[in-house]
């Protein structure tokens, strides 16, 4: 009887050991994935702090070049463009699609460089990660400011060919992707696709330093 109990205990210990190894591995895998999906967000944040700090000592073009490098690396603009143009995307030929993606990138970069133009001890803080559908995740962060309430900056990220990329930015609950999607479809419906392109070009021009 004692032998039976001993063997049962040994078996349980063995199973528990295996369980531990698996769960630790799973934990590592999960935390590895969480770290990986934060990479584009951290790269974007570092670049933003950088252009804010150097706003007075560098030119718009220099900061644009820095952000261009980061935005093209961290955002999946092709997918963003597809979502933003909703049903109109399918009606475009390859060249028009590529031109739109490039234009959308220019607008995003110009907006960031224009808006993050001064530094007053702001910093970004990581908060948490929440899973969404189809391998998408929401990375939650906030921008803390010295003399104002923190601003919530959440990012939807998705793995694309082994690389995590940002597909939407949500600032204080306002989702840039759905905002643009509604706006763009309204402009296309009322004025046509070429009017949207002209409007976007005009916005880019307005965002350049005077």
């Amino acid at each position: 009887m004692t032998t039976k109990i001993n063997s049962l205990q040994s078996a349980l210990k063995f199973l528990f050991g295996i369980y531990l190894i698996f769960s630790v591995n799973l934990l590592y895998a999960e935390s590895d994935q969480e770290t990986a999906m934060q990479v584009p967000v951290n790269q974007l944040h570092d670049a933003l702090i950088n252009i804010m700090k150097t706003a007075d000592s560098s030119s718009f073009e220099e900061r644009y070049a820095l952000m261009e490098n980061i935005i093209t690396k961290t955002f999946n603009t092709a997918l963003i463009s597809r979502v933003v143009l909703s049903r109109y995307w399918k009606s475009l030929d390859e060249k028009t699609k590529n031109d739109f993606i490039a234009l959308f990138d220019r607008l995003t970069i110009s907006t960031y460089v224009n808006r993050f133009d001064s530094y007053d001890d702001e910093s970004f803080k990581f908060l948490s990660v929440e899973p969404m559908k189809k391998e998408r995740f929401l990375v939650k962060t906030e921008l803390t400011q010295k003399n104002d309430d923190p601003v919530s900056f959440n990012y939807i990220v998705q793995n694309n060919n082994g690389e995590w990329k940002i597909i939407s930015v949500i600032a204080n609950g306002i989702n840039d992707l759905s905002l643009k999607r509604a706006e763009y479809s309204s402009v296309i419906k009322d004025q046509g696709f070429s009017a949207l392109i002209e409007n976007m070009k005009q916005k880019i021009s307005d965002l350049q330093p005077k």
Binding site: R82, S86, N160, N161, I174, S186
Partner: protein
């Protein structure tokens, strides 16, 4: 209750009834084909939006900008604190209606301390010294937590963006504002100051919108409705809501949404 109060109340109720009837009829129309939140009475909303924008551009915005130029920030903060405090009974009322009892007690203390130690609400001592943060609650949020849909989006002349559900807040917020029970000519300049100060507080946001928006009407509608969701869920809306635009695109492209 004086005759002017009754008039003010009936004005709000009539407005709500008219809007409910108007939007009730409008919902039978075919929804438009644009992406984004539904907008059953878009053509009427756009007319009111344009009227407001014109009025704002030529009157309200210049007055608000002059006010900002002429008053130090500390004064404007005190003005904001004063009017926010007057409207805070409505926040407390809705805390309790939503079952947020701890928040309701904290907000009651906040109102008490700011009204007394904060000299009629001019100083926000509750936030600064007592760690009693300001909350944003209203009757529209209460109805949302009780399960009411937002109904049609409305753009109301002089008031701005709203929804059928959220406009009902006009009733409790009017009744619970202590000014409603005061009859004096001094209320006119004070109410004007409230309006100007409110517009001044929105200058940064409206400038940002003008800078970013390609269609300011659609931008305002989407930003407003998303901001409402954010408030209803106290800054933590369910992530499932963010999936919707991808799901739509996935359905359109046969279930796959990966672009190299």
């Amino acid at each position: 209750m004086t005759g002017s109060h009754l008039f003010s109340l009936s004005k709000h109720l009539i407005l709500i009834c008219i809007l409910s009837v108007a939007t009730g009829c409008a919902t039978t129309q075919t929804p438009d084909s644009t992406a984004g939140n539904s907008d059953d009475i878009e053509s009427a909303n756009r007319v009111f939006f344009n009227v407001n924008e014109t009025l704002d551009k030529h009157l309200m915005k210049p007055i608000a900008e002059t006010y900002v130029d002429m008053t130090p920030k500390v004064v404007r903060t005190s003005v904001t604190n004063f009017f926010d405090n007057l409207k805070y009974l409505n926040v407390i009322f809705n805390d309790f209606l939503q079952g947020k009892f701890t928040q309701g007690v904290n907000d009651s203390l906040r109102f008490l301390f700011n009204s007394t130690l904060g000299i009629g609400g001019i100083f926000d001592v509750a936030s600064n010294d007592m760690n009693l943060a300001k909350n944003e609650e209203d009757f529209g949020q209460t109805l949302a937590t009780w399960g009411f849909d937002e109904g049609s989006y409305l753009y109301i002349p002089l008031m701005g963006p709203n929804t059928v559900r959220d406009v009902t807040d006009q009733v409790p917020s009017t009744f619970l504002n202590p000014f409603f029970y005061v009859t004096s000519t001094v209320l006119f300049p004070i109410s004007a100051l409230d309006v100007i100060n409110k517009r001044a507080n929105l200058l940064e946001a409206s400038n940002l919108r003008d800078e970013a928006a390609i269609d300011p009407y659609a931008f305002t509608r989407e930003a407003f409705l998303q901001q409402r969701d954010y408030l209803i869920y106290d800054g933590n809306p369910p992530v499932a809501g963010y999936d919707d635009i991808f799901t739509e695109a996935e359905e359109e492209s046969g279930g796959v949404l990966v672009i190299e």
